[in-house]
């Protein structure tokens, strides 16, 4: 479960710290107390920045770092596809063996495949991704009403 890639992201997180954003959310994992505050800044439909602050285990921290690395700079539809693919992998209970196509989409995030075998840890891996989804939806709907 603790792939080198995961430990690397844990020890050297990408994009950590809170910066300006269009929307902010706070998500918690009640079973273990992992918490994240996450902001999304959009530039049109491009993900301009994802900034975050939180506490939690290596899996939840590394996953937030991978999220930042993967999604910042992407157009929203592509980012959404990556998020959905990651969700599918994490909900696979260890049954999905990532193929080349999946690796292409998920890059470093395929390292989390092993985590999907541990039901107690799946939520840790998904915490920041769910927070991102939530924050982005808010940012988009605010842009629409604005």
């Amino acid at each position: 479960m603790y792939q080198e890639v995961i430990l690397d992201h844990y020890k050297h997180p990408h994009g950590r710290g809170l910066r300006d954003g269009d929307a902010e959310v706070h998500h918690v994992n009640p079973t273990c107390g992992d918490e994240i505050t996450l902001r999304v800044r959009l530039d049109g439909s491009r993900i301009d920045d994802i900034s975050y602050e939180g506490q939690g285990c290596s899996i939840s921290q590394a996953s937030a770092s991978v999220l930042n690395e993967l999604l910042v700079g992407k157009e929203y539809p592509e980012a959404q596809k990556i998020q959905e693919t990651f969700l599918e992998l994490m909900q696979s209970k260890g049954k999905v063996e990532p193929d080349d196509a999946m690796e292409e989409v998920l890059e470093d995030a395929v390292a989390f495949a092993g985590v999907s075998k541990y039901p107690a840890r799946v939520k840790c891996a998904l915490l920041s991704w769910m927070a991102w989804k939530d924050a982005t939806a808010q940012a988009l709907s605010e842009k629409e009403t604005a």
Binding site: M1, Y2, L7, Y10, T31, C32, G33, D34, E35, Q55, G56, C57, S58, I59, Q61, Y118, R121, C124
Partner: protein, 420 residues
């Protein structure tokens, strides 16, 4: 491995033979080191055999038939009540109510008081007192009761070294207090709380006292008369019994006066379409078919523990706890959350390990065969109080050995290297 000898240790080599699960090997050949006893204990063969023979030989519903099996099942179920009554030194067997766990026992008292008449009634003019170190099972029922009745919920805070702060006891427990409910031994901090001071103050103001003995009953002699409380709750699965069985002990006159909570079969005297009259306690509080096999299993667990002797079990755990506290404090970056000496504490030890999240500690220990609990241990306010997201907790029982403590220490060293 040569066993370290500490004064007071039980003959764990013999005891461990009674617990088939302790022989398990996990993760390709790692010997299981089970240090999650505060969550639930393992079960001795003696209890498993009684459960089996109950279902194989005697299974029937209780109190409901004249046939042989029904009589045998009833005798076994009521026999378990006798055993539990003796185990906790209850003045009367009729003061022992079987529930499904400690949570149900605690909720039962909260509901008795919510529906009671004067002088017990909890309402908007009154106050309920708990502590900041309660298990969620002894917080949420009182929050529910307060929300429903308008009563004010108050609590004792904690000192920096993991003990109850009773310095303001006269402000916390007042003439308005109807009930004080607190944990005897904390499942997260390990603290043993000072019963006498709290009971004395509660009695001075005429408040009832409920003690959550979930982490006490498995580990040391429990004497409800010596405690001086009005109610004592505990749970069977932490004391070598099966899941699905808990106990509420209550003083007889209270159980006579207080109203039932759940209605159903078994708890009535007569029923008409307009109203019913109730069976005397304990049956008044045991609606429906009870957890029969589980109660019988708890009776067997109580026999098992009594045969070894609760004082000897307590001495064993004290020695293991003392040793574990000493060894844990040798681990760099490790901080114990709770009392750091074995005096006035039980055998559950929570700690943090530098910045390494408890989830990661628990996972890497598991890979080495070591089972500990991580998280907030259903006592989130304690984590908030000490400004930590969670802890890792190792908890010991009568079959725990110093060798297992050593394995834990080595395991923690490995965790530090892994994330270092």
């Amino acid at each position: 491995m040569t066993q370290l000898q500490l004064p007071g240790l039980l003959d764990t080599e013999t005891i461990r033979k009674d617990f088939p699960l302790l022989d398990r090997v996990i993760h390709d050949g790692k010997k299981l080191v089970y240090l999650d006893n505060a969550a639930t204990s393992q079960k001795p063969q003696q209890v498993l055999d009684v459960l089996n023979s109950y279902y194989e030989q005697h299974n029937a519903n209780v109190h409901r038939g004249v046939h042989t099996l029904a009589e045998e099942a009833t005798a076994l179920y009521e026999g378990a009540r006798d055993k539990v009554a003796a185990f906790i030194n209850a003045p009367s067997r009729d003061e022992v109510i079987f529930t499904k766990n400690a949570s149900e026992s605690l909720n039962l008292v909260a509901n008795m008081l919510g529906f009671a008449d004067e002088p017990y009634r909890v309402d908007r003019e009154t106050e309920v007192v708990i502590t900041e170190m309660e298990h969620h099972s002894n917080i949420v029922p009182w929050q529910l009761l307060s929300q429903r009745t308008g009563a004010k919920l108050k609590w004792f805070g904690l000192t920096d070294d993991g003990r109850l702060d009773l310095s303001n006891i006269e402000q916390v427990i007042t003439e308005k207090t109807k009930i004080v409910s607190f944990v005897l031994v904390s499942n997260i901090l390990g603290t043993v709380n000072p019963v006498e001071a709290i009971v004395r103050r509660a009695q001075d103001v005429g408040a009832l006292v409920l003690i959550d003995a979930s982490q006490a009953a498995p580990h040391a002699a429990l004497d409800v008369q010596a405690l001086g409380a009005d109610f004592v709750a505990f749970t069977g699965h932490k004391m070598c019994g099966p899941t699905g069985i808990g106990v509420l002990w209550g003083r007889q006159e209270l159980l006579e006066d207080l109203p039932p909570f759940l209605g159903g079969g078994e708890m009535i005297e007569t029923v008409s379409m307009h109203s019913s009259t109730y069976a005397p306690a304990p049956h008044k509080f045991e609606a429906g078919t009870p957890p029969i096999a589980q109660a019988v299993g708890l009776g067997a667990a109580v026999d098992y523990l009594s045969a070894i002797g609760m004082d000897r079990i307590a001495a064993h755990e004290h020695a293991i706890t003392e040793y574990a506290l000493k060894r844990l404090q040798e681990v760099p970056d490790l901080s114990i959350i709770g009392p750091t000496t074995a005096e006035g504490r039980g055998a559950a030890i929570s700690f943090t390990l530098g910045d390494i999240h408890p989830h990661d500690v628990g996972q890497v220990l598991d890979e080495q065969g070591i089972a500990v609990r991580v998280g907030h241990h259903c006592a989130r306010p304690v984590c908030l109080r000490y400004g930590i997201p969670a802890t890792t907790r190792a908890s010991f029982y009568l079959y725990s050995t110093p060798g297992e403590v050593d394995v834990l220490i080595d395991g923690l060293e490995h965790v530090r290297n892994f994330f270092g």
